[in-house]
Each structure stands twice: as C-alpha cells, then as structure tokens.
C-alpha cells in the first residue's frame, strides 16, 4: 500500500461499517450465446454524504452494478452473488417485498434519458407523488403538495401548475429535474445517478450537476454518479472508481486519480477527453481497440489486448495473471508503481496539455 496525502473530508478509517458496501459482486446473465459476466468480482464502499463517480466505457458494468444494488435485474435470467450491504442490510437475495420498501425510499435512481424513463401516460406530479404516497402512507392530496414542493426545490418555475403537466410538455432539462425530484421525494440516503446528464444539452448539464450537489448538501445523501465523462466526475465526485470489463481497475479520490492515474486504461480515458485549454492541433488519442466481449473476456488482465505497456511487464503475466486491485488507493495493473509514475509523467501527461 502506498501512503496517501489525506484530504480533510476523506472518511475516517474508524472501522465503522460504511453506508454502502459492495463485496465480491458477480452479476451474470444467461443468454442464448452463453453466460455474460457483466460484473466480475467488484468491491467498493461509499459513505454518507460522499459522491462516488463510477467511470468506464459502455458495457463496463457500471449500470449493471447499480441495477443490482436496486435489485432491478430479472431474476430469471440473472445470477447475482456477493454482498451488497446498505446500512448493514443485505440486499443480494433479499425478498422482493423488502426491496420494494427500500426502492424509491432509502435508495433511489435517476436514469439517463428522462424522456423514456418517465411514463408518457401520467402527469409529472402523479409520478413524483407515487413513491411518496406509497412509502410514507400520505394521502393523495399530501402527495400532490409534496410533488409541488419537490418541483419547486429542483427549480421548476410555477410548480403549482406544472405539476399537472405530462412529461412531453417539459423540456429535456426540466424532465431531468422532474426525474431528480421524483428520486428525492422520500429523502433517500443513497442516490444512484446513471449518466444523468448524457441526454442533455451541455448548458443544462452543469445546472443539473449543481442541483445534485446542492441537494446532496441539503439531504446528506450518498451519491453514486455513473458516467463515461471524466469532466463530470472531476466537478462533482469525491472518489472515483474506474471500471473495465465488469471489474474495478482503479480507485482513489478524484484528485489522486486525475492527477496521478495508476492504470493504463485510466490514462486512455484521460487522453481521449477533449480539453478546452488544450492545443487545437493536438489530436485526441482514442483508446485503440474495442471493449472486450463479456461472454468470453480476455484472460489475465482484461485490458491487455488494448494496452501499450504489456511489454514492460515481464513474461506473459498480463495475459495469464489477473492483477489485483489493492484496498484503498490503487490500480489493478502489473506495472510497478515507480514505472507507472514515470510512464505517466513522461508519456501521458505531456500529451494532456
């Protein structure tokens, strides 16, 4: 383990159980072509009031992990093993009724595309009030008042009248605000935001992220922010978990991961991110190759077919031995810490500008 410079707001290592703890999570889908190992031995922790950014390409298992936390996978075609502890309560294998009481109440989710994620058949107000009425036993009238209050809180003008509108009468940004209002209506302790800004205009993105931050301060929720956009994470999250092929390949605080990343995949993500301050002539560097098939992931380190530094590791360790992600700060890579640091400083950092 490497020594870290500790920021003041990092969780105190008192040995108290974290609010959300995921241990050795495996999620497998049986399909006609075989078994898809969508999440492959994932572990992470999250404290109250903190934001964890989960970053990775499409198909890296980000969304699958979080749907597993909510228990939204079809049990017929999905096998989930491992531990998901929410405030000490085991969620894997929990009964549907138990999960129903937690969903929308203690843990809530914001989906990527608010147009398809909101039902076109019911008013925004009704959809916001539903979980409130269900979980708190409030009357329909109280639910409606609560919906108006929430809409006001997320910055919808004239919430008293907009509450009776249908989602298609809202603009994209307002729909996402409504979605956020819906997820926060019961003051959840855990909020999972699955690419909450991807379907929105860039100008609206920042507003939505600010809104999430403000609401987190007000409610003290723990947030998991799923994204493929490192820029979003940099502004919003406290910690980062980088996922690749269903595994965590690097974790650390935002500062640590963005300033001294320790996995070639993270280098690739940083290199493919456009920068306003960067040289216009400097081309973006995409990561070569495509994400691996999760039906048949590469042996050893799943990133090795796309990695430019396998030659630096002795023998065929990259293709035969699965690198371990150390607890706390670290990256799952066979390169030595010193070598990683020198490669990052010499090869990667200059190109980032």
């Amino acid at each position: 383990m490497t020594t870290l410079t500790k920021t003041e707001d990092s969780p105190a290592p008192t040995g108290a159980d974290p609010f959300l703890s995921v241990r050795d999570l495996y999620v497998r889908f049986s399909t006609e072509d075989g078994i898809v190992k969508a999440v492959d031995g994932l572990s992470f922790d999250l404290e109250r009031g903190r934001t964890l950014g989960i970053v990775g390409e499409s198909g890296s298992g980000k969304s699958v992990t979080n749907l597993a936390v909510l228990g939204l996978h079809n049990p017929k075609s999905t096998t989930i093993s491992g531990e998901i502890l929410l405030d000490g309560q085991e969620l894997t294998g929990a009964r549907e009724k138990t999960l129903e009481r937690l969903r929308g109440n203690k843990m809530a989710m914001i989906f990527q595309d608010p147009l398809t994620a909101l039902s076109p058949y019911y008013t925004v107000g009704r959809q916001i009030a539903e979980p409130f009425v269900k979980h708190t036993g409030a009357s329909k009238r109280e639910g409606r008042l609560r919906a108006v209050e929430m809409l006001g809180k997320v910055g919808i003008p004239q919430p008293q009248t907009r509450v009776d509108d249908y989602p298609h009468q809202f603009s994209g940004g307002m729909r996402q605000r409504a979605m956020i209002a819906m997820s926060l209506v019961c003051n959840p302790s855990l909020l999972i935001a699955d690419e909450p800004t991807t379907a929105l205009d860039v100008t609206v993105q920042a507003q939505i992220l600010d809104l999430l931050k403000d609401l987190q301060q007000e409610f003290g929720s723990a947030i998991i922010l799923i994204t493929h956009d490192l820029g979003v994470v940099a502004n919003t999250a406290d910690d980062i978990l980088v996922m690749y092929a269903g595994r965590a390949v690097e974790r650390g605080s935002v500062k640590e991961v963005l300033q001294s990343p320790r996995h070639p995949y993270t280098w690739g993500l940083l290199g493919s991110m456009p920068r306003l301050s960067g040289d216009v002539e400097q081309p973006l560097k995409p990561i070569p190759g495509t994400p691996p098939s999760l039906l048949n992931p590469p042996p050893g380190c799943p990133f090795h077919p796309r990695c430019a530094y396998t030659g630096e590791v002795g023998g065929d360790r990259c293709s035969s031995e699965r690198p371990v992600l150390p607890e706390g700060r670290g990256g799952a890579c066979h390169l030595t810490a010193e070598r990683k640091q020198s490669i990052f400083i010499e090869d990667i950092q200059p190109a980032l500008g």
Partner: protein, 325 residues
Amino acid sequence: MLQFLLRRSIGAVVILILISAFTFFLFFSIPQDPALLACGKNCTPDAIKIIHQNLGLDKPVPVQYWNFMVGIFAGRDFAVGHCSAPCFGYSFANNQPVWNTIVDRFPTTLSLTVGGAFVFLLVGLGTGMLAAWKRGTAVDKTFSSVSLVLSSMQIYFLGPIVLGLLVYSTDILSSPKYVPFTENPGQWFVGLLIPWIVLSVIFTANYTRMSRSTMIEQLQEEHVRTAKAKGMSSRYVFFRYAWRGSLIPIVTIFGMDLGSLFGGAIITEQTFSLAGIGRLAVESVIKTDLPMIMGVMLFSAFMILLFNIIVDAAYAWIDPRVRLS
C-alpha cells in the same frame, strides 16, 4: 382534440358520399328492373311504365342519385306513400320504406356485435395479460397454443358444434334468439350467449396473442423500470404502467377489426337465424332488393365509421400526447 374529431368527421362524410355514389351507380346500372318486384304477377309493360314514373325510375341515374341523397335528409314522396326523412328509398320486396326495416333489425346486430366485442376483449386481453404475467410457464404455453388453434376456427364450423353441444344434446341453453334488452334483460342475455361466444372465438385468439406480446414489450420499457425503481409493486407496475401502454396497439387493431366484426355478424346471424342487419343484407341480395341493399350498405358504413371515430377518441383518453398535440 376537438379539431381532430372534426377532421375525422369530415373525412367520414366524404367516405360515406363516395360509398353511396359507388353503390348507387353499381347497383342501379345492373340489368335488373326494380319495378318488376313491385309489379306483381300480371304485369304488363304499361303497368311497369307507370311504376317507373311513380318511383322516378324513368329519370337519368344522376338525377335519381340526387333525389336519393336529398331524400335522406328531406324525405320523399312515392306514389305508394310518403317516406319521411331519413328516407333511404322504398323496398318493393317488403313494401315498406327501407329505413323502417333497418331500424327494426338494427338492435339485434348492435347487441350481437357489442356483446361479442365485449366478450373477446375481456377474454382476449385477460388471457393475454395472464400469459405475459406468467411468461414462460405452463399457463403461458397453454394459452398460446389454445389461441393458435382457436384462431383458425370459422363461425359456420364452430356454430353448429356449439349448438349441438349446448342446445340439442344437453339442453343447457335454448336455441339462440333475440329478445330486446328493454323487454327482458335476462332473456336477452341468455338468448345471445351462444352467438356471442361463437362470434368472439375467432377474434379472442388474436387479442390474446397481441396483448401478450405488447405487454411483454411494455414490461421492458424504461419507464416501467423507473416505476419499479420507485418501489411500486410488480402488480401496480404491471396494471398501471405496462397495461396503459399496451392499450394503444390493441385499440388500433380493434379499430381495424370493426369491419370484420360486422362481417362476422353477417355470418353469425345467418348461422343462428337471427334477424339482424347482416341477415337483412343477405336476404336483400338474394331478392335483388336494390334499395334495401343500398340502405344496408350505407347504414353499416356509417356505423363502422362512427365506431372508428369513437375508437380514435379513445386514443386521446389513453395517450395524453394525442390529446394535447
């Protein structure tokens, strides 16, 4: 919404005018003289000529068409008597205005089709939703295969079998007959039960299969997942979120089925000897009762268009996006 209905109504009127013109010129141009029916046995050319004059058949066809159309709204006077609006002409075979016969026969057909539609929607949607709910289980497979068998049934095949089983050999029910609802609701129900079942069978299977597949489709929609993520129970999500969305394709198909439903009514009425509009259509074709054919054609076209507009209005009730745009 109002504008939408208005547009649909205008469209329907245009369609009705086209249908009336088409039927009129088609039937009045075939070499069959309607006057022969009115003339009776000892018919002389002079008598036919007088009848022609009395009924306006000596005038050119466009003029006759015009008089016919005006008659619908203003009524007409024939030598045999006054035919008050709506006048669809005078039937020589029945010796009474066409409209009176239609009014007489219509309740039977309305009871038959509405009741039949109610049965196949209830049973079809019910079994389809149950199959979707129990997807992949024995229940699902049973419903799916039974519906496949039933969908290949025909009314004139199934009708006699049901009659034989429930009426002739077991006396569970008496022979189908129409008793007006206003007269005796119980007998109305019992008398039409067999025709309803037989008429609905050929439709039920389609609705089972369709509501099953649209429900399964809807259950994979993202907004249905959102509802689950809010902690709503599976039952609530199924009936409130998925079902609402599955109604739209079903209503669409139902609108298209209205025509076949009337076609089915013709065969059903014929099979069970019920005196409805369908049977009237068959009788009048056999007797070459041209004004009656004309009247039945126009009337059924009107009813089908009317129900289509009602179905369109149902869209707006189901989907607020239609209502507001």
